[in-house]
Each structure stands twice: as structure tokens, then as C-alpha cells.
């Protein structure tokens, strides 16, 4: 029952978003209508270039969520592969992998992102690369620990005794048990990565104009903080909403899997 409601509301939101975004062009500037108050045509008003705020918000949301999903999928996959190998399939790699992850975790992510952006030019690609380079280590470590724990359990040992090859055991026994934990972490990370993307777009690296992004919109809007605080408020609100959403998602998942 609840699942159906969830799907329906998700679809509804998507439809509404699509309709709204296609109605008003998020890129259309209209200097004669700058910083307008909310009206029927522009439900949340316009920004300093006359662009519709709402459609930009929604588009930014889509871009941000899409990007973070990509990042998380990439890093989680790398993490799962490396973690399973170093934790179970080929233990000899463990020392190297642990040392590398330990060292990388300590390194500042923002610094790396800045430098990468400087080298490759500020763009979505450099942002994705930077965040992926940082996050892969935490997944590797997580999976490594989980796999290690799981490998001591009865069903895995039984499979070993029965002669099943390590990779097959990993696929059939270890990973399914480990998946719930990983999914929970992924859901939490969704929020974190969205935050990172917003922060980087705020300082100018990452999603470039004219593509809208919440952080970028805040950065543009803060010059008008005194007169039009709404320009900053709405993107900020979206960010906070996303954080809450991601936390609730991870709580729901935790409860569902009873992790």
C-alpha cells in the first residue's frame, strides 16, 4: 500500500516538474523584468537577469540529483570491487589498499577539487572527477570491513569448505549480505554529495553558468541579499530540504533492512 503511494507521489512530482520546467524557459533572460516579485507567470519571481526562479530551481534540482547519483554509483561500484577483492578474494592486496585509503581520507576534498578544476577547467567533469576521487576511498574501506566481517560467518565458511571459488562466493554469499549496509550509506551520501556539489558551485567550480545550480544561484543572489533575500532563500531551502530528505531516506532504509 505504502509503496504504491510512494510511486504515485513520485510520478506526480515528476509530471509537475516537467510541466513547470517546460512551461517557462529557465534560461530566458529578460532584463526588463529583473528581480520581480512572485507573479502568476513567475511563481517565485525572477532573478537579477529576469530569469524565472522556480524553473531554474527545479532544473538545478534535476541536475544536482542526477550528478550525485552518477557519482555515488561510480564510487560505490569501485568501492565494492576493490573492497571485496582486498577483503576477501585476494587478501594480499589488503595492506596496500588500506594504506592508500587511510592516506586519502585525510586529504582535503576541497583542495583536490580546486586543483583539478584548475587543471581541467571548471566544469561538471572536473567536479565529478574530484568528488569521485575523494569518495571512492570511503566506500572501499566500508566494503572491505563489511566483507571481512561477513567472511567469518558460517555460510561463507561452509561455501569455502564445499569448494566454491572465491569470486563465486563473493557474488552469491558475501555481497548480498553486505548490500543493505552499502545501500544505507549510499542514501546518506546522496545528501552529502549534493551538498558538495552545491558548495563547489557556490565558489564557482562545478556546474557552470548558464546551467542553474542551487549553490550557484545562491552565489549570484547574495549580492542582492539586502533587497531580495528570496533569491538566496529559495535555493537554500531546496538544499535543506534535500538534506532532510536524504536523512529520512537513509533512516527508512535502515529500518527496512534492520541494519
Amino acid at each position: 500500500m505504502k509503496q504504491r503511494r510512494f510511486i504515485i507521489s513520485g510520478l506526480a512530482i515528476f509530471v509537475v516538474m516537467y510541466a513547470l520546467t517546460s512551461m517557462v524557459d529557465p534560461f530566458a533572460t529578460n532584463v526588463t523584468n529583473r528581480l520581480a516579485s512572485p507573479s502568476l507567470h513567475h511563481l517565485l519571481g525572477t532573478d537579477h537577469l529576469g530569469r524565472d526562479v522556480l524553473s531554474r530551481l527545479l532544473l538545478a534540482g534535476g541536475i544536482t540529483v542526477g550528478l550525485s547519483t552518477v557519482i555515488i554509483l561510480i564510487t560505490a561500484t569501485v568501492g565494492i570491487i576493490l573492497g571485496t577483492i582486498s577483503g576477501f578474494v585476494y587478501r594480499k592486496l589488503e595492506r596496500i589498499v588500506t594504506k592508500v585509503t587511510d592516506a586519502t581520507i585525510i586529504f582535503p576534498d576541497t583542495v583536490l577539487a580546486i586543483v583539478l578544476a584548475g587543471v581541467l577547467g571548471p566544469s561538471i567533469q572536473s567536479l565529478v572527477l574530484a568528488i569521485s576521487l575523494i569518495k571512492w576511498t570511503s566506500y572501499t574501506r566500508l566494503v572491505h570491513t563489511l566483507v571481512l566481517q561477513e567472511s567469518t560467518k558460517g555460510h561463507v565458511l561452509a561455501a569455502r569448505v564445499n569448494g566454491l571459488s572465491k569470486p563465486k562466493i563473493a557474488l552469491r554469499h558475501v555481497l548480498p549480505a553486505v548490500c543493505p549496509h552499502i545501500l544505507v550509506v549510499m542514501s546518506l551520501d546522496l545528501g552529502k554529495v549534493i551538498l558538495l556539489i552545491s558548495a563547489f558551485s557556490f565558489i564557482g567550480l562545478g556546474v557552470q553558468l548558464p546551467l542553474p545550480e542551487w549553490g550557484g544561484m545562491i552565489s549570484e543572489g547574495r549580492h542582492y541579499l539586502a533587497t531580495n533575500p528570496a533569491l538566496v532563500f529559495w535555493p537554500a531551502f531546496c538544499i535543506v530540504l534535500t538534506i532532510i530528505g536524504s536523512t529520512r531516506l537513509s533512516t527508512k532504509l535502515t529500518r527496512h533492512f534492520q541494519v
Binding site: 583542495v111 586543483v115 557556490f202 567550480l205 541579499l225 537554500a236
Partner: protein, 313 residues
């Protein structure tokens, strides 16, 4: 003990070399010919012979590791190259700007300590009090809300609306208040929770209760038993959180237009000033490595029982 320090220094030294090697490689990552790029900045018409000569002069024809060693020797002599834009030595640029960053980081850390230690401690000892609730709220805000949002909020309330503090820039002490407060809340949020849970764990530990029953006095109990047991997780966390601290400083420098190293970096990105960026990477690596070395040593001092050779862990 000395052996421990030596071993750890070696490990971190190795890490330093690895990191700097990567940052060195980064210049080579630039799409296209680095030499052409360097020359393009001047926007002169140069003929091929000139390009080749420059290429050899700058050492780009040497094998990679030779270039790396040369570069490393320059680094050690604190020669980080010159800015592509201004021509100033990178170290000079840093010198001009580090004061602001240092102020911001120090201010933020101070606020974080002043917030986290008392609030975390009180909420462990008096879980029902007003302070405890304040601590919980602050820790949720600090750890979930991104620092630039906290900063914006504070900016709007205290600078724009109430006009108690300047909105941006660096003009005296009151410019430092809002940025430090922001950073402090963002960093402190995590620590409040950590301190509280660590203290709760420690206070409930058998050996603390029994020490009390054996008559160990409160003051001694507090310092020798409780504080010493509670410190290691906090110190560990600090080593890890240096990264987010540095990130936070950069973002806040942009937000509050505080002219520090972070802001310099962002500008350098937009202007594609590679030597500055590389210098920043080297500098950051140094900082991270030394801080972690120090935390390693501190942990060793606080937890000698974990480092006994014949202990099976």
C-alpha cells in the same frame, strides 16, 4: 618512543612524496601542450624554434622522474615557481594572503572548542538540562547544514538586518566574527556529539566507577581517568577533520570575501594560474602530513597500552 616517531615520520614522509608527485603530474594533465599553454598567456606569436628551445630550457624534454626530482629540489628550497598572471613568486603570494586565512581558521577553531567542549561535556553530565538541548540542536545544525548556508543565515540576520557586523571583507576585528562563528558551528557540531558520546561511554565504564569506589579523588578521577580515556577519539577525529576545516575555510573566504589563501586559490582556478595551484597543493599536503604526524604521536602517548609489542590485537 623515538622509534615510533621515526617510523611514523617515514610513513608520512612517503605519503608526502606520493602526494606531491601527483600534484606534480597535474601540470602534465593539462590538456594540450604545457609549453604552448605557458606561452599562450603572453599571447605572443612565437615560432617553432622558440617553442622547442623553451621546451628544452624548461626541462620538459627530460624524463618524468628527472623533472620530478628537479621540481622537488626546488620545493625544498621553498621555490614554488612564479605566478603565471602576476609573475610574483608563489611563496610571496602566499605570504601576502596567509594571515587572513590563519585568522579565519584560528577563529573558527577557537569558536568550535569554546562551543563543543563545554556543551558536549555538560550534555554528558546533565542530559536533561537546557544546555544539553542547545547542544543537540547546534550539533544537528552544524553537522548537516553546509557551512555556506550557516554563513548566509548569520550574514543575513546579523549583518544585513541587524547591521551589527560588516557583511563582507576584512576590516578589523568585527569582520572576523561572523566567519569564525560560521566555521566554529560547522566544525563544532560534529565535535559536540562526539564529546558527549565519548564522555558517556567513559563515565559508564567499569573502571571509572570502580576507581570512584576505590576512593580516587574527583579531580584526579576527572583528569587521569576520564579525560585521558575521552581524548583519543576526539584527537583521531581532529586529524580527519582537518580536511573539512580547510574546505570550509575556502568556501567561507569566498562567501565573506575574506582575502585569504582560499580565495586566492579560487581566483587562480578561474585564471588558470597553475603554479599557484600547485603550490597550494604542496602547502596543503605539508600541513596535513604534519598535523597527522602530531596526532599520531599524541595518540601514542595517551594510549601506550595499545603499542606494546607482545599484545595480540
Amino acid at each position: 618512543m623515538t622509534r615510533f616517531v621515526a617510523r611514523k615520520s617515514l610513513e608520512w614522509g612517503l605519503a608526502f612524496l606520493v602526494f606531491t608527485f601527483f600534484s606534480f603530474l597535474l601540470l602534465r594533465l593539462v590538456p594540450g601542450d604545457p609549453v604552448l599553454y605557458l606561452l599562450k598567456v603572453d599571447e605572443l606569436q612565437v615560432d617553432v624554434a622558440e617553442i622547442d628551445r623553451l621546451r628544452e630550457e624548461l626541462g620538459f624534454t627530460d624524463p618524468v622522474w628527472v623533472q620530478y626530482v628537479n621540481w622537488l629540489s626546488e620545493i625544498v628550497r621553498l621555490n614554488l615557481g612564479d605566478s603565471l598572471i602576476t609573475g610574483q613568486p608563489v611563496t610571496q603570494l602566499f605570504k601576502n594572503n596567509y594571515a587572513a586565512t590563519f585568522e579565519l581558521a584560528a577563529g573558527g577553531l577557537l569558536v568550535a572548542i569554546v562551543l563543543a567542549v563545554p556543551l558536549g561535556t555538560i550534555s554528558a553530565f546533565r542530559p536533561m538540562s537546557v544546555f544539553s538541548k542547545l547542544a543537540t540542536g547546534l550539533s544537528i545544525v552544524g553537522s548537516s547544514v553546509p557551512s555556506f548556508l550557516i554563513g548566509l543565515f548569520l550574514m543575513y540576520v546579523f549583518a544585513v538586518s541587524l547591521q551589527w557586523f560588516p557583511v563582507m571583507g576584512r576590516n578589523g576585528w568585527d569582520s572576523l566574527v561572523l566567519p569564525s562563528l560560521t566555521l566554529g558551528i560547522a566544525v563544532g557540531g560534529v565535535y559536540i556529539r562526539l564529546i558527549r558520546s565519548t564522555l558517556l561511554d567513559v563515565m559508564a565504564a567499569d573502571y571509572v566507577v570502580i576507581a570512584k569506589v576505590r576512593g580516587i579523588r574527583s579531580k584526579k578521577l576527572l583528569t587521569r581517568y576520564i579525560a585521558r580515556a575521552a581524548l583519543p577519539p576526539v584527537i583521531s577525529m581532529f586529524g580527519v577533520s582537518v580536511a573539512s576545516l580547510m574546505g570550509g575555510v575556502v568556501v567561507l573566504e569566498v562567501l565573506f570575501a575574506y582575502p585569504g589563501v582560499g580565495k586566492l586559490m579560487v581566483d587562480s582556478v578561474l585564471r588558470r594560474d597553475f603554479p599557484v595551484l600547485q603550490g597550494y597543493l604542496v602547502f596543503t599536503t605539508c600541513l596535513v602530513v604534519s598535523i597527522n604526524l602530531v596526532t599520531n604521536v599524541m595518540l601514542r602517548l595517551l594510549q601506550p597500552h595499545l603499542y606494546r609489542k607482545d599484545v595480540s590485537r
